[in-house]
């Protein structure tokens, strides 16, 4: 009986401590959910939804994400700002751009026109997380290859000995990779050697 009472006491104590913790967590979640979505959060959702993460380092900074989105002609009217809350006009504009439907906007200078274009496509702007589901991987996603220009050993890439066919910014930029890389492996045994029959 004593054991049962002790167990109940422990249970009640745990419940007393865990319940407020759960309530705090739930409140924190509620508070977070009630906060407006920022440009930074929207950029993160777009980068992942459009399959552009491959152009970025792991856990990219907000500005690195903005940069890649801009290279794919996606930006709010007043540009990307880290803390700015996302308005319906911002959301409509970037979603239309992400869907490559800009040509269907009747009056690009009127924010309402971007919202109407989305409505005509059957996409509504009630929740960012739901609206973002409408975007798909960009078939011609592009970005400057940071591994070529970077000096950071965590980012920079190897100039591989291959006639690379990778397309970035949708043109080949890595074609200089094979600069006779095997020709100088041993001093005195350079290849190609002027003209030496083998």
């Amino acid at each position: 009986m004593k054991r049962i009472l002790a167990s109940m006491l422990v249970g009640l104590t745990l419940a007393a401590t865990v319940a407020p913790a759960q309530t705090e967590k739930a409140e924190a979640r509620k508070a977070q959910a009630s906060q407006p979505v920022t440009h930074q959060q929207l950029a993160d959702l777009l980068i992942k939804g459009l399959g552009l993460a491959r152009f970025l380092p792991g856990n990219p900074s907000p500005q690195q994400m903005f940069d890649v989105l801009m290279q794919n002609k996606i930006r709010p009217l007043n540009g990307w700002l880290m803390d700015a809350p996302v308005t319906k006009a911002d959301l409509a504009r970037v979603i239309v751009q992400a869907l490559d439907k800009v040509e269907e906007v009747e009056n690009p200078d009127d924010p309402q026109s971007w919202i109407d274009t989305l409505k005509e496509l059957g996409i509504f702007l009630d929740r960012v997380s739901e609206t973002i589901q409408s975007v798909e991987v960009l078939p011609e996603g592009m970005a400057q290859d940071v591994t070529l220009q970077s000096t950071d050993p965590l980012i920079k890439g190897e100039q591989l000995a291959r006639d690379d066919v990778s397309v970035q910014y949708t043109v080949d930029l890595n074609v200089l990779a094979r600069i006779l890389p095997e020709g100088e492996m041993i001093r005195g045994d350079y290849r190609p050697i002027s003209p030496t029959p083998f």
Partner: protein, 407 residues
Amino acid sequence: MKQIRLCIVAGLLLALAVPMLAAYAESPIHLSNRLRVGYDDNINLLPEDMDPVDSFRLIEELEFLVNLNMERMYLGLRYRPSLIWYTDRDEANADNKDYDFLNDLDLNFSYEFTPSLALALNDTLRASQLPSIYDEYYIVRRDDDNIYNSALATLSYNILPKTRLDLSGRHILLDYDNEESARYGNYYSLVGGLTLRQQLASRTTVLGDARYQTLTYSEAPADHNRDADMIFFGLGAEQTFSPSLIGSLRAGIENRQYDDEDYDDHNAPYGEASLTFLPSPRTRLTGAASYSIDESDAGAYLSQNRTYLSLSLAHDITAKWSFYASTAFTLNEYDADYALDDTDPATPALDDGTEKTYLVSLRLAYRINRINWLELGYQFTKLDTDLQNRESYDRNRVDLGWKIQLF
């Protein structure tokens, strides 16, 4: 050839299986195919006075994408096998293979443990089948089959709402199949790094970073020791200047200590800058510049000082026509103080030297409909070198391609 047949069979099976997977609603799986037919006026990268070999070529490239985006987790996977076939590569020697086969795999994974703690894993795998090429008088290259892999893990923690600390580790591996290539080319490198970012305002972030890197040529003989340890300290800033202009700047100092004690430590500054500008809704411009000590392209030197400049333009002429242009320039400077010593007195000591590379790349694309594109491309490349036993060359290539997004 057997491997290619296997790959073709695997590709066909993939083509049959993936549509079934993709048939599920809101599929995260995508497959596209790019076929290019082109002409290359110097496939062996020979100087003009050595009678360069030209060839038509065919590039077949599949791209398989998985993009899985969940509430806390993201998985992005891209696999891209490419076959490059040359019509005229095998004229001189019966041993020559007339194709290269490349496999590219990119993996991006991230997981958000809490709103302030996230983990990212990135892997880049490049597996290349590069058979030997013999010209009439030259060994253009030996069998250069190789695997390159770069694995990066980054743990990010928001210390304060506007302060973020990134802890990163990277492992890089280059591994040649051929024994001779492996002896001087195989290496692995380990990198550890810390980055602290502080958001100052809605448009500005400043950062400071520290990196430690070791580089080990795992099979190199003692007289060809190019192993090194490097330490980097840097500062940087990222700035949104206007709605259509964004840029970043990073600079610091590197200390490079060579394993071979005959060489002094190499201290040098490094820096990089990039700008993206949208002058109109239809046009994007991106420029970049960087300077650093880098691993040497020429095997007889321990390192090089590399300056890199690039500029890219993308312009939508109409809704269907797009034009892209890129240029890049690289200046590699080699210092005789960091050239390998040669024990053979008959071989002259190496001097200072420079290599310049130039690239111009143009592409015109026409979107036929939502899933089909036609493209016309041109690339000019030029190497201008004054290093001993290296040859300058230039090369022109033209390609006509068709891309289809299958699903």
